[in-house]
């Protein structure tokens, strides 16, 4: 495969950069949220944590874990 002459390569690069910048300002490169791809996927290990509970006790992934696993629920708020 032949390579482009240096000057043409640099020019091409600048044009591509220009187009990608204008793309950012006109908001055309955003992809819609794909909820199923966010966060740990099936088979992946979840991040650990260290958080206080409603009784002020510190809990970790290990401390809440049961002998056969755990159900970890993320919700918006208990308050609204």
């Amino acid at each position: 495969m032949t390579t482009l002459p240096a000057r043409l390569r640099i020019t091409t690069f600048f044009f591509l950069l220009l187009f990608s910048i204008s793309g950012l300002t006109t908001a055309q490169i955003r992809t819609a949220i794909d909820l199923h791809s966010l966060g740990p996927q099936v088979g992946e290990r979840v991040p650990g944590f260290r958080l206080p509970d409603q009784n002020g006790r510190i809990q970790t992934l290990e401390s809440i874990m049961g002998p056969n696993g755990a159900m970890l629920l993320f919700h918006r708020s208990a308050d609204w």
Partner: protein, 297 residues
């Protein structure tokens, strides 16, 4: 909180439980007391863990930012954020730092075995339906039990109490009789009636996908046909959701009970003959509870 109602079953199955939100310990303590919550409610008050898990809801910020008029942003705002929240400056601030709500089922090593996240902000899978879909059984309440010439079945709803937007399941546990084979998905191509619920349309309930377990290929010798069928006991889940739209929410304000009627339909063969399709009437009565909008002080 219906998760609290399931604690005994989850604990009996050896499954630990915790809920994470950005609420302060004080708010969580008040909520736990008001609702009698005994499992850990964890306070992630700077949303660090929510961000670490990669599930921070970024949609509101986008909906207010420079790309607010991008049709994809608008669509995501409608899907993931309540209009009442988005339109209120006060509530909009509150949603900053919240996650996309969902549930991870983990094994003993902290690996995800299944995950449940809702596409539409108003809908939420019930704990029971999450358990059923994760293979953790629940104790049926208000089950219908029946016996026909071809099978025995137990049918029940995953939840007997529902609220707006609640996603639940209708469950049927089927035990085919001796030498009986029930037609499974794929058999409709050969003109057979596949087993499943046939529920009457309801203004309050939307029926969704049916979860079928794997079937076997059965060789029906009299016709030399190879057909997908169930021979061993199996369980079907018919997913349903209480309609969460604003118009139905208004109608539901006067409702205490939702009755779902329909039938369990199937067709079966034994080794010699194929029986006509059968339709067994079923009916489920669910208690409807209004959404709890109570706030702590």
């Amino acid at each position: 909180m219906e998760l609290q109602d399931r604690i005994e079953e989850l604990t009996a199955a050896g499954i630990g439980i915790a809920a994470i939100s950005y609420d302060s310990e004080k708010i969580l303590a008040a909520f736990a007391e008001r609702r009698g919550i005994t499992f850990p409610l964890l306070s992630d008050d700077d949303s660090a863990v929510i961000k670490d898990y990669g599930i921070l809801n970024t949609v509101v910020a986008e909906g207010l930012g420079p790309n607010a008029n991008d049709p994809e942003v608008v669509a995501d705002v409608h899907r993931y954020v309540a209009a009442a929240v988005f339109d209120s400056p006060q509530l909009r601030r509150r949603i900053n730092g919240t996650p996309f709500p969902g549930t991870f089922m983990l094994d003993g090593n902290g690996q995800v075995t299944s995950r449940f996240f809702e596409e539409f902000y108003r809908e939420r899978a019930s704990t029971a339906t999450v358990m059923l879909k994760s293979g953790i059984g629940i104790s049926p309440i208000e089950a219908i039990q029946g016996t026909t010439a071809q099978l025995k079945f137990t049918a029940y709803p995953s939840d007997t109490i529902v609220t707006n937007g609640k996603r639940f399941s209708l469950v049927v546990e089927v035990e085919p009789g001796p030498n009986m084979h029930l037609y499974a998905p794929g058999a409709e191509a050969m003109g057979y009636r596949v087993v499943g619920f046939n529920m009457a349309a309801s203004e309050f309930v939307d029926y969704e996908a049916v979860e079928f377990p794997e079937s076997e290929i059965y060789h029906f010798e009299p016709l030399d046909e190879f057909v997908p069928a169930y021979q061993a006991p199996f369980t079907l889940l018919q997913e349903a959701v209480i309609n969460a739209s604003a118009e139905i929410e208004e109608q539901l304000e006067d409702i205490d009970v939702i009755t779902l009627s329909g039938s369990l339909d199937y067709q079966a063969c034994d080794d010699a003959i194929c029986y006509l399709p059968v339709s067994v009437p079923v009916s489920f009565t669910l208690e409807f509870q209004q959404l709890d909008y109570e706030r702590s002080n």
